[in-house]
């Protein structure tokens, strides 16, 4: 038959190099301003060690100039710069404003709100412990999340498919599920010998509920006509469940996975700060105990990067799995 135009996977047509000079120079320019402002502020306080902060912005200027020179050779680089430079500029300006407000104008109470240079210093000085904490958080998060997803898929499929299980399981789910997983902490601390094991179980519980709910509703809302078609093609129960109901529920299941991921972050941080003696959540409360707020902010920055990376990975997986669906939400 006649090939249709929209079937050919056409590459996105590029606008004729949209990278303007103004955009390109914004990054080094903003970094220059931040550097100058900082030098000016810091000069009033000789004892502060601000070498690394300055070095950072000198590097930013150097790299952005280098990329500006290299842009001719790569359209991909050009597109990336045109896309990212405005947001980088805004980030640098924000850091500069932060610097001026804290260190320069002393507008925020000091031990609690250190300037960016102090945070950067904590980040660098404590990097080994921060890396170790991130690793522990990752292991705990992944083990709890995996456990919760497996459990949630199994219970969700059973509840969604079988009416007797739905009859008995749904009330339990509706009563127990909405309790925030962290509310179980006093109980799990008594029950479990190891804080790590009980924290993983808590995270699993937090993930299990939304995954079960969304999987069950996806399965039970499978379009009846898909099941009818499969039956007339000679499908047995296994085919109906694994080849029709579950694929049809996948968009819903992913919503559950995302909700579960959010719940798991929250539970992870709380569980770490009250029970487990490792991980980023523990690090934050430990640093707070010593009133080292530079470290608190450093850990928050690491957390932001850590959690959003995991989120991005899940979005990538979703885009892969749901290629058959049109118009998925972008992350």
């Amino acid at each position: 038959m006649e090939p249709q135009e929209d079937l050919v996977p056409t590459a996105i047509v590029e606008p004729p190099s949209a990278l303007r000079w103004r955009t390109m120079l914004a990054v080094p320019f903003a970094a220059g301003i931040a550097l100058t402002a900082h030098t000016f502020i810091a000069n009033r306080e000789p004892p502060l060690e601000t070498h690394s902060y300055r070095l950072l912005f000198i590097e930013v200027i150097a790299v952005s100039i280098l990329l500006a020179l290299l842009r001719r050779f790569s359209p991909g680089l050009r597109r990336w710069m045109a896309n990212m430079w405005p947001i980088f500029t805004a980030a640098i300006v924000s850091v500069c404003v932060w610097d001026i407000v804290t260190l320069g104008l002393r507008m925020l109470p000091l031990p609690y709100f250190p300037g960016p240079s102090a945070v950067l210093r904590s980040l660098i000085n404590d990097r080994v412990l921060l890396l170790d904490s991130t690793w522990h958080s990752l292991v705990l998060l992944l083990s709890g999340y995996t456990l919760g997803v497996i459990g949630g898929l199994i219970s969700g499929i059973c509840i969604g498919w079988s009416s007797p299980i739905r009859y008995w399981g749904m009330p339990l789910l509706k009563v127990v599920g909405p309790i925030p997983a962290t509310a179980w902490i006093p109980l799990t601390m008594v029950l479990s010998p190891s804080a790590t094991v009980s924290s993983a179980a808590l995270i699993a519980l937090a993930v299990w509920f939304p995954v079960t709910m969304l999987t069950a509703s996806g399965i039970s809302n499978t379009r009846a006509s898909y099941l009818d078609v499969a039956r007339t093609l000679g499908a047995g129960r296994a085919y109906l469940i694994f080849h029709v109901a579950i694929p049809a529920a996948v968009p819903n299941i992913f919503i559950g996975l995302f909700m579960g991921l959010g719940a798991s972050f929250l539970t992870l941080v709380v569980a770490e700060s009250v029970g487990v003696k490792s991980g980023l959540g523990w690090y934050v409360s430990w640093a707070q105990g010593w009133a080292e707020y530079g470290k608190v902010f450093a850990a928050l920055i690491i957390m932001a990067a850590f959690f959003s990376t995991i989120m991005t990975v899940l979005f990538k997986v979703r885009d892969r799995v749901l290629v058959w669906q049109k118009g998925v939400i972008k992350w």
Binding site: M1, Y226, V229, A230, R231, T232, L233, G234, Y239, W324
Partner: protein, 261 residues
């Protein structure tokens, strides 16, 4: 008629079938949709069912497929009552209902996978994709297909199981005139080659005359088979022959008359 063994498995008897649904305006009362439908379909016969929208054609097909059960009456394959859907009775739905998560090729081979015979019959997949002219769309997802292409894929998906009885609910309705005529010939070719028993729902009188051995005309509220008209034209039929046109005008006159009463 062919050998009796074959007749058993591919002849259909429908006797005094009734079916009602809860009335949409009043859930306590029921609306009679099919009211005493009786007919039989010999092995290898091709019968068309025509009638106005909402008279219960799709409902009847669902009963024959085994997807729903009748309130009363008998539905028999040979002498066996129909209790559940079966790959021996294929149904092409009014909407293509392709699985959106499978590519065209995987949709077409779904029946083979469901019955666990994909390995032995893998080569047939290509044959059926070629039959409906979708070979270059093999790896495309259904949301890229036009309505007609989707309907052709749905047709191939039902045909690949080689059902003994094929129920077709306006399978060619969404096609353009040229593709439609080509597909009519393809369906006839398959019908003759395999001696498949076919029950074809259509809105197109020309299609009914061109394809079928008999035409059943249904009237609505409640649905009954008002008349059965044998089509005694030699095959292959000419769409512009005098007999064809005479029959066509007879049917039109009847429908017109039935619509008035």
């Amino acid at each position: 008629m062919v050998a009796p063994a074959e007749t058993e498995a591919s002849s259909l008897v429908v006797r005094e079938v009734r079916k009602s649904f809860p009335a949409p305006d009043n859930p306590l009362s029921r609306r009679q949709v099919l009211d005493g439908i009786s007919f039989s379909l010999g092995a290898g016969e091709l019968i068309s069912l025509i009638g106005p929208s909402g008279c219960g054609k799709s409902t009847l097909l669902r009963l024959v497929a085994g997807l729903d059960s009748a309130d009363s009456g008998d539905l028999l394959i040979g002498i066996e009552p129909i209790t559940a859907p079966n790959a021996e009775r294929g149904l092409v739905f009014q909407d293509p209902n392709l699985f959106p998560w499978l590519t065209v090729r995987r949709n077409i081979q779904a029946g083979l996978v469901a019955r666990g015979v994909l390995h032995e019959k893998k080569n047939e997949v290509d044959e059926f994709m070629r039959l409906v002219g979708l070979e270059i769309f093999a790896n495309v997802y259904p949301h890229h297909l036009s309505g007609g292409m989707a309907q052709r894929a749905a047709l191939a998906r039902a045909l690949i199981n080689h059902p003994k009885i094929l129920l077709l609910d306006e399978p060619l309705g969404a096609l353009d005139a040229f593709t439609r005529m080509r597909m009519q010939d393809e369906v006839l070719r398959l019908w003759q080659a395999r001696r498949t028993t076919m029950l074809l729902v259509t809105h197109d009188i020309d299609e009914a005359i061109y394809m079928s051995d008999r035409i059943m005309i249904m009237t609505p509220r409640p649905g009954r088979i008002e008349r059965t008209i044998p089509v005694e034209l030699a095959r292959p039929r000419q769409r512009d022959s005098g007999d064809f046109l005479r029959l066509r005008s007879d049917i039109l006159k009847f429908l017109h008359f039935a619509g008035k009463s």
